[in-house]
Structure formats: C-alpha cells, structure tokens
Amino acid sequence: MTDLTKSGAAVGEPARTGAAPETFLEVRDLKVHFPTDDGLVKSVDGLSFQLEKGKTLGIVGESGSGKSVTSLAIMGLHRLGNRGKNVRMSGEIWLDGKELVAASPDEVRRLRGRDMAMIFQDPLSAMHPYYTVGNQIVEAYRVHNDVDKKTARKRAVELLDRVGIPEPDKRVDSYPHEFSGGMRQRAMIAMALVNNPELLIADEPTTALDVTVQAQILDLIRDLQKEFGSAVIIITHDLGVVAEIADDILVMYGGRCVERGPVDKIFYEPSHPYTWGLLGSMPRIDRAQTERLIPVKGQPPSLINVPSGCAFNPRCPYADVPKGGITRTERPELREVGSRHFTACHLSQEDRSRIWTEEIAPKL
C-alpha cells in the first residue's frame, strides 16, 4: 500500500507515477481520507478509472459509497473549506495530460470552471439567493475570460437560450427563487457550460426534480454533450438514469469500485453480487412484477471501520462460496471478466456465471 500524505504531494503506485496517460481523464488509485474525532473516514479508498472525450461515465452507488467525494476530488473541491483542511489524498488524477493531485491549489483552481465544471443536485441551494441568475453566470465567465460585463452578459443570455429558457434576455435578470426547479437546473447547466468545459460532472442532477422535468434535463445533457463533445461523469443512485445516458458504468461500494464496464454488460451480465443486489432491489416500471423485491440485507458499511477483506462480505449472500474465508481476510482487486469489464470479487468465474444464470437472472 502507498502511504498517505497530506493533500498536495502525490504518491501513486511507483510503477505508473508520472506517466501521462493517453486517455482524456484517468484516475489512478485515488484515495481521499478525512480524519475525524471518531477515526479516519476512508471516503474513497483506491479508485481507478478512465474516461474518453465524448463519452459518459455513470457512477452508481448508495449514500456514503464515495461517489460524491470522488467528483469533488476531481474538481479539487474536497480540500477547500473547513472539512478539507486535514484531508489526506493520494493517487493520481490526469485531466488532459495534467496531473491534479500534486498540482498546487491555484493551478487546480484555474482549471476549475474552465476545463472542468460541475452541476449539483439541488439547484435552489446551489445558487446564491442574493444574486441574479445572469449575475452568477457572468461571474463564472469572467473568472476565466478577460471580458467586460456587457460581453459576458451577452454570453449568459446566449447560454440561457441554448439550455431552453424562454425569454432569456429577460430571465437573465431574475433571481433563482423566481425560477421553477427545472428552470433552475437549466440555469445551473448554463453556468457550468459557459466556458465550454471539456469535462462535465453532474452530481445527482435530476434527483431533486419531478420525473417529467428529469426527462427534459437528461435530454438536454445528452444533446449538449453531442454538441460540445465533452466528457461527462454522471453520479446517481438511480439505475434508470444511467441506463438512459451512460456509456460506461462504475459501481461504488464502501469507497471502492466493485464493478466497472460498458452499460450493457452491467445491466445484462453483471458480475458483482452488490450489482445483483442493486438490480434486484429496484422496482421496475417496465415490468408487471409480481415477485417480491430482492433487497440487499443489512446496512451500508461504516467508512471508518470498513469490514476487512471484501467490504461487501457482511451483506453478501455468497460470501462463503469461495474457500477458506478469503472474502473476510483479503481485499479483492479489480479483475477483468470480459472485454473492458472489471469486477472486484473473490467468486471464481465458474461460480459467478453459475449463480448469475441459475439464481439471479431468472428473478430479475
């Protein structure tokens, strides 16, 4: 294991350190730990993934799985504010050839909002209540562009128009509370896109919205991605949303990636028991399901005392299938189980396919 240092110094795995990757975004063995009075909270504990431009990665997980902290870490936001004072971070984040973990806070700040931007869950609380929507977009534009207010305002109106806000030249002077929920999220998107970022991170962008508005917003994000060709990370707990929009899916549990692969693989050939659990827990609107749901037993793990071995073992119905209690003693590493499809599970290939075809698939 690599030792953890305070934010600023990058300690990756020696073999790979320093080598800029080919891919647009690459995260290598990212760890984000927060010391608290109760102990060290290992929010993200060794996460790696890649993302190409023009593609969408869906990060799925439950509360406390580390999915939001991952996005904040990429943006460099986790180390700002009081909670970030003592954060310990290691690993590497490569964005378009630049490494962000070791970069100075000011370097990351200059990328933030320009090369990478973020949309948050609740657009009402994410916008400042005292400033007009236009004002907030103008501010975002002028941080990275040396233009006068008039030009910036024109840009704001242009973007509000692009995200589908009617009468943008009037609405630009409205305050956030004068917008409806869907309009506010559109305005948030406009704000995030004002500098044409190459990476867009959307943290539960539709969770706070009604279902008909959610459909509009997802459509908008998809269209804008086509238009701008940016890479998108969408973080959600809703498997329906990722099925709708993602190319790749990363399933997180207890601060680690348990399964990663193309969207079809995750939905039609999932290989991790936790993914099976998520799919079984989910009521389906597209099926006349008369069977009971198959929930995952127990509670999500504590991030301070993560279960030894596989973090999922206390809740896993198949924890005893691999011999010798290995699930409780050894942490499973990600292994390739198919083309671009990885899983972190001790189950052997045979056991896995047997359980999937015999026990899980028929019930889903």
Binding site: S63, G164, S180, R184, A215, A243, S281, V296, K297, P300
Partner: protein, 411 residues
C-alpha cells in the same frame, strides 16, 4: 392490452363487509392567500380541488403525481391532520369530515401515518422505546403483557432488535429509522396506514427492504395502505390501484396493470413515458418518450376546463371550456378526459386543436401520435402534420422543486 387484473396473493377483499374502508367525496382543501394591509383574502391555493375516491379494505391505493399536485395535502386530509374546506370523508361508515380533536381520538387508533423523513419525524431526545410507546400513552391503552414487552414485539416485527429499546434515533441509519416510524404507526393495530413518500429518502437497497417489510405487514396484519409517492416504479410495485393527480384533481384512477399498460389520460401517459427505464436497450426507443411543454400551472389560478389542456397535445376547444368528469370508461378504470388514449373519443365532434395543443404536439413523438390516430383519427390528423418528433428537449420546462429520494426533506 390487459384489462383489470388484481394482484396475485394480495388479500383484495378479506373483510366480509363489502363497503369500502374509506370513502372520499368532493374533497376540497383551499389554503387562503392573504395580502395587503388588512390581510384580505385575495385568492387561494387550490391544493385539493374536488376529488372522489374510495379505499377498499385490505388493498393498497397508490397516489402519484408531481410536486404541487396536492397528493400530500390529500394524505393529511384523510388522516385529518388538516381540516378539509369542503367535501366529505367517511371512514368505515362514519363521517369524519369535521370531527374535532376529541371526536378524532378513537379514529387515531385506526388510521396512522408514516412520513417521508425518517430524520425529522423522530424526536432526537427520546429513546426508541419512548417513541414507539408514545401511542399507548396518548391513547391510554395498556397492551397485554405491558408496554415494554409490546414495544419489543413491535421492534421485532419491523426487523429491529428488541435490545434497541433504550437507544436514541441518531444511532440508527435511515432505513432503520423508517422501520422505527413504521413500528410506531403499527403500535395501536391500525386498520389503515397512510404513508407519504415512505421510501423516497432511502437508498435503493434499503428501499427494497422497507417495501418488502410493508408488504409482509400488510399480509400479516390485514392492513389497508394509502401510499403517496412520486416514484412511479415504487408505486407500480406496491399498489393494487393507483390514482394519478394533477393540479388538485384525480385525472385517472385505475387498477395497477390497466394503468401502467394502457393509460387512458394523456397526462398519465406522459408521466409514465418520462420515467427512465433501467434497460439500456430501451434507450434506442427514445421516440416513446413524451416531453411535456412548460411548467405545471399555478394551483392559485388553475386553467379552465380540463386542467391539463395547456400542456396536452390533444386538447380541443371543449377541453378549455368544459371540465371532464372522472368516469369509468372501462371496468376498474376511471378517467377524466375528453379525448382519452386507448379508447373511443369522448368528444369526437370536437376536432380542432387548440394552439397550445399544436405546440405540445411537436413534443410528442410520431409513434405516440400514430397510436392515438388509430383510436381517433380525425382529431390528430392536423397534429401529425406538424409533429417533428426529435428536436424537443429545449422547449420549456416544468414544475417546481420536489422532495427527492436522495435528500431528506421534511414535508
């Protein structure tokens, strides 16, 4: 398309009494808006504006709708946490519309409520034992074998350990807290439980645990549920019958399968089509999706006639002038629409689309329109010619903020 079909294994009507457990007629709740120096009433938020339905013994009635449709207000009215402005609520043959606190006391044992926010609805300073035994104290009931024993039995019933008796709410996770809320609701052996977004603040895996628990308890205790939720997948899973609300009205009330497989109200259809389906193969079938234009109108001044006419792609003159009654078009499927889907047109003489409808039709894919054309050809003819299916997303947006499954909102 299947007709009515009740859920297998559910005690649909266990009681020998065939009368519904709860009957609601013309229920109205207006919240007055006061303004100016003298605080004159200048209008009212018509949260619930004349709804009729009944809840049968042993069934689960699901109530869905977007934020601001009045579903939560309706829940608070039938549990009499709010005083209705009009209409009638009958519980097991007794008129409870205007009962005072004292008169409601016996009813409080029969009707219980479960709330969305498992954080806000439990007093942090009380132990679990105190919280779950509160109903006994309030009602002055001494259960067999003593309060403590009964509370421990309840905790076991909802899947918690009886040793949790002396712990405090903050020691529990969201799912466990919701179990505590359920244990409290079940303490007095209620006959009807009204659950307002019972699982929307919970994680997916935990949500399934709670849904199953509620299911088991219904079988075991013969409970009747009214489940209010915005998640259409959850509602489909748990309900026998479903009421769809829009702007304070029920627009469709039908058996589960009929509603999901052959919705008749255009709003129901749009709502269902908007739900993202966890099946990547369906993504290519994007054309099935109906995007609604604009926002939900204000409940202070709802549109005339059919309230959905401002956003409906089928709306004609009659929709603007005449409010469609909620009538049973098919057995077990009541709809309030002049131009229902999957059924013969109720106002075939009226074929000229409103301007709003022409705009809305642009947002509705050709497939939907073609399907509609099969049932009422003339009415849609004009629309199809204008419909350009894809370029849709940027056209307006809708409705206000919504309590979500990811965050905890007290409501």
């Amino acid at each position: 398309m299947s007709e009515t079909e009740t859920r297998a294994g559910t005690p649909a009507v266990t009681n020998d009494d065939e009368k519904p457990l709860l009957r609601v007629e013309g229920l109205v709740k207006h919240f007055p808006i006061k303004k100016g120096l003298l605080q004159r009433q200048v209008g009212a938020v018509k949260a619930v504006d004349g709804i009729d339905f009944e809840v049968r013994r042993g069934e689960t009635l699901g109530v869905v709708g977007e934020s601001g449709c009045g579903k939560s207000t309706m829940g608070r009215l039938i549990t009499r946490l709010l005083e209705p402005s009009g209409g009638k609520i009958e519980f097991d043959g007794t008129d409870i519309t205007h009962l005072n606190t004292g008169g409601m006391r016996p009813l409080r044992r029969d009707v219980q409520m479960i709330f969305q926010d498992p954080y806000g609805s439990l007093n942090p300073r009380h132990t679990i034992g105190t919280i779950v035994s509160a109903p006994f104290r309030l009602q002055g009931v001494e259960p067999e074998g003593g309060v403590k024993k009964e509370v421990q039995r309840l905790l076991e019933l909802v899947g918690l350990s009886p040793e949790h008796f002396n712990r405090y709410p903050h020691e529990f996770s969201g799912g466990q807290r919701q179990r505590i809320g359920i244990a409290r609701a079940l303490a007095l052996k209620p006959r009807m439980v009204v659950a307002d977004e019972p699982v929307s603040a919970l994680d997916v895996s935990i949500q399934a645990q709670v849904v199953n628990l509620m299911d088991d308890l219904q079988d075991e205790l013969g409970l009747t549920y009214v489940i209010i939720a915005h998640d259409l997948s959850v509602v489909r899973h748990v309900s026998d019958r479903i009421a769809v609300m829009y702007l304070g009205k029920i627009v469709e009330l039908a058996d589960r399968n009929a509603l999901y497989e052959a919705p008749m109200h255009p709003y129901t259809k749009a709502l269902l089509s908007a739900v993202p389906i966890p099946d990547p193969k369906r993504r290519t079938a994007k054309s099935e999706r109906i995007l609604l234009k604009g926002d939900v109108p204000s409940p202070i001044a709802p549109p005339s006639g059919c309230r959905f006419h401002t956003r409906c792609w089928k709306a004609t003159e009659i929709c603007r002038t005449t409010e469609p009654p909620l009538i049973e078009l098919r057995p077990g499927q009541r709809v309030a629409c002049h131009h229902p889907e999957n059924f013969a047109d109720q106002a075939p003489q009226d074929t000229v689309l409103l301007t709003a409808a022409k705009e809305a039709a642009e947002l509705v894919s050709e497939e939907v329109l073609a399907e509609a054309a099969a049932t009422s050809e003339e009415a849609v003819e004009e629309a199809t010619s204008e419909a350009s299916s894809e370029e849709t997303s940027s056209e307006g947006s809708a409705s206000s903020d919504k309590p979500s499954s990811g965050e905890s909102t007290d409501k």
